[in-house]
Symmetry: C2
Subunit: 155 residues, 2 copies
DNA sequence: GAAGAAGTTGACGTTCACGTAAACTATCGG
DNA sequence: CCGATAGTTTACGTGAACGTCAACTTCTTC
């Protein structure tokens, strides 16, 4: 029994420190995300240490994207993920408990969130495009000013 | 002298409440922005009430854009604006005090910030485009699932 | 010119998203 | 087996970005 190996569960699982380093957050952040029910590590070692699987890391990446790219707060992110989780369940236990009526409900919510997010994305893209044009015209003006200075000092 | 009109300075100037309502922030936010040196109203009434001009409102809009679209914190935003202000001075007092050397310095800083911001914008655009593709494929899957349900219930 | 709405300066409170310290346990290399 | 390193829970602290009184003045309207 005492094989002497390091006791963990699944092969791809990493510990909290590695997960943190890999994704650029702190260990505190990971524990905090768990605390608020945002990201549960898929397993624990026999001693109680968190083990983050591949899917956990992907989920973490998604969380950070939603936070930094879309500017969602952790509450909104939780909503989004909760909804995706529901869909995941739908898919796994294909005829999950209450049928059709419940399925449509979940799909409806998912579609609503999807639409909302697409709207946010579109709005951000608009704003970014405008800002990009602004920045480029300013950059052009800066270059012109520098050329002017060069001409003046060449004289 | 006592014309009886409401005592303010420039015609386009609005009070803090109107400025707040127009830009979707609170009056507290405007006072706070002034407190940290981010946005000084261009004038005051004789009694001491803030008067926000057209340029102030534009600046405020820029602040909110930098905050919400690029996700900058107020410190970074202050940096950006401070730099633009310096350029503005350069332009107004065209040969402002120390010449050339100082001018190039300011231009350099402006160009550096501009480049940094363009990089941030580009990165965000990448992330957004990826997210958009994700969302669209998910939307397609949702529609497919709904069709499936429809077919099942039509039977 | 009196009332009520809006604005002023403090000053303290609040929420979010973690940071940090302490005391203890687990895991790993030797 | 032992020491170093990493992880655990619990709890209090923190910075950013405002919110919320309170006490007072100013502006606008009737």
């Amino acid at each position: 029994m005492t094989v002497g190996e390091h006791d963990d569960d699944r092969p791809g699982a990493v510990r909290i420190g590695e997960a943190a380093a890999a994704s650029g957050v702190s260990t505190r952040t990971l524990r905090f995300y768990e605390e608020i029910g945002l990201l549960e590590p898929s397993g624990r070692s026999t001693g109680g240490a968190r083990r983050y699987g591949e899917a956990d890391l992907a989920r973490l990446q998604q969380i950070r994207d939603l936070q930094e790219v879309l500017g969602f707060d952790l509450g909104e992110i939780k909503e989004v993920l909760r909804c995706e989780d529901a869909l995941g369940e739908l898919r796994s236990e294909y005829r999950s408990g209450a049928p059709d009526r419940r399925r449509r409900e979940i799909l409806g919510e998912a579609s609503a969130i999807n639409a909302k997010m697409r709207a946010v994305v579109a709005a951000k893209q608009q704003a970014l495009a405008a800002m990009q044009r602004e920045l480029e015209s300013k950059a052009a003006r800066y270059r012109a000013l520098v050329r002017e200075l060069d001409r003046a000092s060449a004289r």
